[in-house]
Each structure stands twice: as C-alpha cells, then as structure tokens.
Symmetry: C2
Subunit: 264 residues, 2 copies
C-alpha cells in the first residue's frame, strides 16, 4: 500500500479528481471514471474488471479503510489529504471521504456475449438511477451481462455504480450500437428476445416457455420500446391492475429476470 | 376556478408554502402536506382522497394548467405569482412552477383494511424513494392498501408522492403502530402474512400457495426484517444468484406482488 500525503489542492497528481460533477456532466474523453464510497471501493479492489489508477481519501479514512486498501493492486497510489483539500479538489463536500479513479480499458464486443444464458438489454434508458438499478437486478438474477444502446447512459457514472450496488464494476456490459443491431446479434446467436411492453396482445411473463438463451429488452419509461423493435421480438407483458399499469423500468426487468431465474 | 394574484412573498395566505424544504425535514404538525408538479396536481384534483386547501402556481403556468385547475374542488384558492416571488416563498427554485397544499384529514384505522385481498406492509422503511416506489408497485399490482409502521417515513412527503407516481394520494394507507401490532391485526383478520427474507429456509415465492387474503411484509434494506417478526409469519424468499442476493426492497415487494396478482 502506497500512501502519499497531499497538502495542495492544485497538486497535478489529483487532476482526475478536479471538478468531478462538472466532468460527470460533460463526460470524460480519456476513458477514466470515478467511484466513491467504501463499499464501492472494496468491489473495485476485489472484484472489478477495471484497472484502478489511483485512490484519493481523507486523512481520517486511512485507519478504517486498512482492509480495503490492502486489497488494491500493487502500484496504485493512495493519495491522502485533509478533508478541506479533498472538498476543494472535487468541488463539493466528499462526505464519505473516499474516491478512486479507474480506467474503462478496451470495450467488450457484442460477440463476447454470445454464450450467455441470460442477458438484459437496455434501450434508450437515460436515467442513471434506472441504469444502476437494472444492473443490480441483472446481477441478482444471474444474468451474464448487459447490453446498452448508444442512447442509454453510462453505467460507470458515479451514481449508476452506487445504485448498482457495485455490480456495474464487474458485470460485463457492451455500450453502443442500436436496438436494431442488438436484436440482429441476439437472434443470430440464438437468443429468444423478450420485448417488455404493456400491450394487451403480448404474452404474460409467467406463461412464456423458457428454453435456451433469453434476452430481456427494456425501453424508456414513458414511451416504452419503439413498435419497430417490439415487432422483431417476442412481446412479453407483466399483468397489472387496470388503470395503473406502470412500474419502474428496472422493476419490470427484475420481474422478468426473476421469472427466468426461477425457471432454470 | 378562483385565481388570486399575489405579488408579495410575505403574503400571509402563502404561509403553508414558506421554506418548504426545511419544513419537510422537521415535519408539519398541522396535518398539511405539499405536492408539486402538474401530474401530481392532476391526481390530487381528480383522484385524491385528501382535501385540497390551495394551489400556488407561477404566472406562466396559468394557461397550460387550465384543464387541471378546472378539476379542482370549488372554493380552493389558486394563488398566482411571478416566478421570483414563488422561489422566494418556497426557499428554492420551483422549476415546475406548480405547488399545492392539502390536508391529511383523519387517519385511517387498521380495521378499515380488514377486507382487502392484498396488502403491502412496510416495516422500518425510512427512505422516501423506497416508500414511494413501494406505493407505485402496490398500486400497479392492485393491492388494497399499504400499512407502514411508526418507524417508516411519511408517504406524503413530496418526493415519496412523486416516486409513487401519485398513488400515495389515493391508495389507502395506515401509518403507525409496530410490526407486532400489524401482524396481530392481519392474522386476526385472516391474512396469510408473507415475511420477505433472503433466508435459505424460506419458501420460494413462486411455490407459495395463494388462497384468500395475503399481506406482504417488507423490512429495511440491509438488516431486513427482525427475526422476531419473521418467526410469526410465513417466511418467503425470492431465489437469487449465489454471491449477490440483494435487490432493492421495493423491487422485492414488486416481485412478490406480481406473483400474487398473476395467481388471482
């Protein structure tokens, strides 16, 4: 463990941690991303598929984080600063006093998901909470990975990682392309693709036969999946009460995933 | 419709809208609560079980809200102010420009829930998003109401209402008492009470026989339900992947509720 005291908010080694919120909004072109909090750092250290570049913690956190820090890969520097320096660098109060910077590395290709038994596929999900929750559910019900189209938001955004209970750090995903390209790939690879829709003509989720590889396709809350995508898949609905047929999109995914998990 | 122009942030008629966030935190002893946004106002006007005391909107909102405002009960004043006045009263920017004040009225008693077929019961759920999401799921799967113990948070907090998709305004609930008193009431009224728990010995949710009245009992994320409560009920689990057996508490409720709804 390589503890490096830092006293100056302008220290160039802390550059990845400067103005975190603003750079979350504009996006980072350098392939880096930031994680926060002890639980997430522990997953990053022990189970993540990403390279940890550095850790940045408040002075008072050195002692309680001993266990986690000892799990870090050799050579990852741990910068330690007084809390006010940390807040000044980040641009807002880092109450948890724990940040880390990792690198996304080379993106996974679609082909790497061809052998999975269950996949979750997100189309146009632009809310970070929903993406995080969808990952958490995919992990809980043993999906082999998540595909996100180019309009969906980044699962490695800080809040998505936190809501995913850290699963965005280890559950394989592919982010890019369109719903069309995803469906074409999935069907060529032999997946039965369930397009989740409230449409009355769709099959009830409990009565769909489960055999072989299955992908669950979710669309944006509100508009739902485009009809052109639904038409290419098996439309599947979750029966709900008349007059209030609306659950959160990640929750809809959880219900379909749990049905699939229980059938296997 | 009774439009009343207001120019002065100190106007005493706007007293219920002063410093909304601070009063959300400390709670309101007068039985009033605040709702925000057009969609929620529409539900408050058309479907709510609560008395609307007044509405407070920005000047630019009068035109687009015509339809909703015409649904309000006779005699409910609609205060209209320039946006800066509205922001000054509330203490933060009210981007949506739509607030309303309603009164909780007399609380429902436990006995009023004895005839429901399905109930959702929340124990120690102190996160407003989770309470709101639990209501949304209860509504989607046709539960007759929600019971919340005294340690759970207020479903009529602004954010809970919004996350509930407005269902907290019309789905009957009882807030008070303890898990013990709830279980005693439910069992006396003939409910089968499912205590949701990840414990290995619990019955898998898909295999529980459904007959007659059923209540689904959820505990806090993290610790879950106390063992003393589980021991008094039918322990039910949602099968999940080894090594990551965790879904959000409201999501767990949705899975159990959807199974129940599909069986009826």
């Amino acid at each position: 463990m390589d503890l490096i005291p830092v006293k100056d908010a302008d220290d160039p080694r802390l550059a990845p941690y400067v103005s975190i919120r603003e750079r979350d909004l504009t996006g980072r072109a350098d392939g880096r991303f930031i994680v926060e909090g002890k639980v997430t750092l522990a997953i990053l250290a022990e189970r993540s598929r990403f390279k940890v570049e550095s850790v940045f913690i408040g002075e008072s956190r050195v002692e309680p984080l001993q266990g986690v820090l000892s799990q870090l890969p050799k050579g990852a520097p741990v910068y330690v600063a007084p809390q006010p320096v940390m807040d000044a660098v980040a641009g807002f109060p880092i109450h948890r006093g724990v940040l880390a910077c990792a690198h996304k590395g080379a993106p996974l290709t679609l082909d790497q998901f061809a052998g999975c038994e269950t996949l979750l596929v997100l189309n146009d999900i632009s809310n970070h909470d929903n993406v995080g929750a969808a990952f958490r559910n995919a992990a809980a019900f043993g999906a082999g990975g998540v595909l996100l189209d180019e309009k969906s938001c980044d699962p490695l955004y800080r809040k998505s990682i936190r809501v995913s209970a850290g699963s965005a750090l280890w559950l394989p995903f592919h982010h890019g392309g369109t719903g069309e390209t995803h469906i074409r790939f999935l069907q060529a690879a032999g997946f039965d693709v369930w397009a989740m829709t409230p449409a009355a003509g769709a099959q009830a989720v409990a009565s769909v036969p489960v055999s072989g590889k299955t992908a669950i396709l979710l669309g944006a809350e509100g508009p739902g999946l485009p009809q052109s995508l639904i038409d290419q898949c098996r439309p599947v609905r979750i029966p709900m009460a008349t007059g209030f047929d609306s659950v959160n999109v990640a929750t809809a995914g959880a219900i379909a995933l749990s049905r699939l998990f229980a059938s296997r």
